[in-house]
């Protein structure tokens, strides 16, 4: 008797697993193409036909100064813009949460623009203004642009954390003799840390992957995605795939380390 219900549960489970497997296949298919092609022995454009296995591209990659330079640019821009947007965003979120002032709702509204508006609109608007006030396009404009589109994401993450923030702990801190700055660093900041970290991670991810906005404000500076874009016309060489594979491995290691760290913390509790 009981079999009928159990059988149904098993069937739906199989269906669910199959469905998810197909979606994951869809998500990972192009990545596996990248990884496999990074080990392709072909040397002729457009580097599509399979000519046997080699790891040579992983060595040759380090002679490709243009590619490495673009990767270095991407990392510099990502690190600097993440730092800046995290600091500015965190201060802004806390400030807007704590203080009332004129024009707050306007800033609030402006924050949604970089999130919802198509990136291309933000890109060309920055391009026009930078060219209007004659800021030479390059590292500076790239960093300014990346900070601009990252700030809202940091703020929204920190704000989500602030929503559950108990104001009385700040008052308790000041009651115990800490001034505002001490309270901010000893009490407010640690409590908000997970939100800040989440925002920073998002800012970093958005920055290293950004194409559209960078495309308009880069000037002569090539970031890694822009370098890839250039090479697409002639066919992406396997050394680009090799670098992507290395980045992928690095991020997976990073994710596994941080996630298992979180798991351990949970266990301790």
């Amino acid at each position: 008797m009981r079999m009928k219900r159990r059988k149904r549960t098993v069937l739906t489970r199989i269906r669910d697993v199959l469905f998810c497997a197909i979606i994951y296949l869809f998500l990972f298919l192009p990545i596996s193409v990248i990884v496999v092609n990074s080990m392709n022995a072909t040397t002729s454009k457009p580097y599509l036909a399979w000519k046997g296995f080699t790891l040579a591209w992983y060595v040759r990659l380090f002679d490709n100064t243009e590619l490495l330079g673009s990767f270095r640019n991407t990392m510099i821009i990502a690190v600097v813009s993440t730092l800046l947007s995290t600091i500015i965003g965190t201060m802004g979120a806390v400030g807007m949460y704590k203080y009332k002032f004129k024009g707050k709702s306007i800033i609030d509204g402006l924050l949604y623009i970089p999130v919802v508006i198509p990136e291309i609109v933000l890109g060309i608007s920055l391009l026009t203004i930078f060219s209007k006030v004659n800021i030479p396009r390059g590292m500076l404009t790239l960093i300014l642009a990346h900070v601009t589109f990252s700030i809202p994401f940091v703020i929204f993450n920190v704000r989500a954390r602030l929503a559950g923030y108990d104001n009385s702990i700040d008052e308790a801190s000041m009651d115990l003799g800490a001034n505002r700055i001490q309270t901010f660093f000893h009490v407010t900041l640690p409590v908000l840390a997970p939100g800040i970290a989440g925002g920073a991670l998002l800012a970093f991810t958005l920055s290293i992957d950004d194409i559209i906005i960078s495309y308009f404000v880069n000037g002569q500076v090539k970031t890694y995605p822009l370098r890839v874009m250039e090479s697409i016309k002639s066919g992406v060489a396997p050394d680009v795939n090799a670098l992507s594979t290395l980045i992928l491995i690095a991020t997976i290691v990073f994710v596994v380390l941080t996630q298992s760290g979180i798991l351990n913390k949970n266990k301790k509790r």
Binding site: M1, M3, R6
Partner: protein, 368 residues
């Protein structure tokens, strides 16, 4: 007429956790049965198995004699009142209550008539267009009850339905639930961890402990004749003495405990058996000298005034404390004096077969 709900050797195992152990329970039609126990005792799991949200690992569940293990929750003629109310936040009160009837494709006119009638019955007339978020806790509770009752279930399952309410409202709702149950003559299976609530409302109480049904009986039976050490300590306050039977005669036993000898009325014990004796604080008496039946001395340590009652804490030579309860104004021993507690033989309950529990209790701090 048979039983409306029968559980036969029901087990529930989650991985390594044996949550419900070989449970046998028969619920009579029209009764108010309470599953009582502390959290994690398996009472909610039992309720969820009857509702169909969980499947028993082993055993059978029957409603009106019909096996229901293979039925989905939506196919069963039982309804549930959830602990969290589980009101649909995106529907009005009217739509919440009408939900079950709509599922059964009851004609619209009849739905309206029955919903409005039910809303009157739970005193929510005029609230049709409100949303759950606009109601107080007590009102949400009434909606949850109305939503379940409108389907005229054979059995209503209630999972700690009053847990989230404040004390005063809880008392009021207890009476109201009882009234509804009598009026509609529907079988209620009620889960709670609140022993007072169970004693007030139930026709019968099933006390669960570590997945096992310890005792099933009327509130009076449970209070007066606890079958296990756990039941004795869980229901009301009591003094517990563990010892070995020294002598049996004329339906009376003498038991040797750590501090001396105590006695009780009992026909079942044999010499040398380990037994547990439970005596309610209000049944305790005291005198200045020992007798052959009661030889334990005790020093009066403290008084606690609880309104009209005074609790007197006395300490036995081994450091265990026992409590004696008196109405205010009645005579009590003075602080620091030594007394000899005793009781009328029939006021003590002798509990057998609790060696395991006894050992466990001796390992931990004695509770009373």
């Amino acid at each position: 007429m048979g039983y409306i709900v029968e559980l036969e050797n029901v087990d529930k195992i989650y991985g390594e956790n044996h949550v419900v152990k070989s449970l046998n329970l028969k619920v009579e039609e029209g009764e108010f049965l309470t599953l009582l126990g502390s959290s994690g005792c398996g009472k909610t799991t039992t309720l969820r198995m009857i509702a169909g949200f969980e499947e028993p690992t082993n055993g059978n569940i029957r409603v009106e004699g019909e096996a229901i293990e293979d039925k989905e929750p939506y196919e069963r003629d039982v309804n549930t009142v959830f602990q969290s109310y589980a009101l649909f936040p995106h529907m009005t009160i009217y739509d919440n209550i009408a939900y079950g009837l709509k599922m059964k494709k009851v004609p619209k006119d009849e739905v309206q008539e029955r919903v409005l009638h039910m809303m009157d019955l739970v005193q929510l007339g005029g609230f049709e267009k409100r949303y759950p978020s606009q109601l107080s806790g007590g009102q949400k509770q009434r909606v949850a009850i109305a939503r379940a009752l409108i389907n005229r279930p054979k059995v209503l399952l209630l999972d700690e339905p009053l847990g989230a309410l404040d004390l005063k409202l809880r008392k009021q709702m207890q009476l109201e639930l009882k009234r509804l149950q009598k009026k509609l003559n529907i079988t209620f299976i009620y889960v709670t961890h609140d022993q007072e609530e169970a004693l007030t409302m139930s026709d019968r109480i099933a006390i669960m402990h570590d997945g096992i049904l310890d005792q099933l009986g009327t509130p009076t039976e449970i209070y007066e004749k606890p079958a296990t050490r756990f039941v004795a300590t869980f229901i009301g306050e009591t003094n517990i003495f563990d010892g070995a039977v020294a002598d049996v005669k004329d339906g009376q036993v003498q038991v040797t405990i750590e501090n001396g000898i105590i006695s009780a009325k009992d026909f079942m014990s044999k010499s040398g058996q380990y037994v547990t004796i439970s005596v309610r604080p209000e049944k305790m008496k005291f005198r200045d000298t020992p007798t052959t039946d009661f030889t334990i001395p005790a020093v009066v340590k403290d008084y606690v005034y609880v309104g009209s009652i005074i609790k007197c804490v006395v300490e036995l030579p081994n450091g265990n404390e026992i409590r004696i309860e008196r109405l205010a104004g009645q005579e009590l021993p003075e602080l620091g004096t030594t007394i000899y507690p005793y009781w009328d033989m029939e006021d003590a309950v002798v509990i057998h077969g609790q060696e395991q529990e006894m050992l466990r209790a001796m390992d931990s701090i004695q509770f009373s």
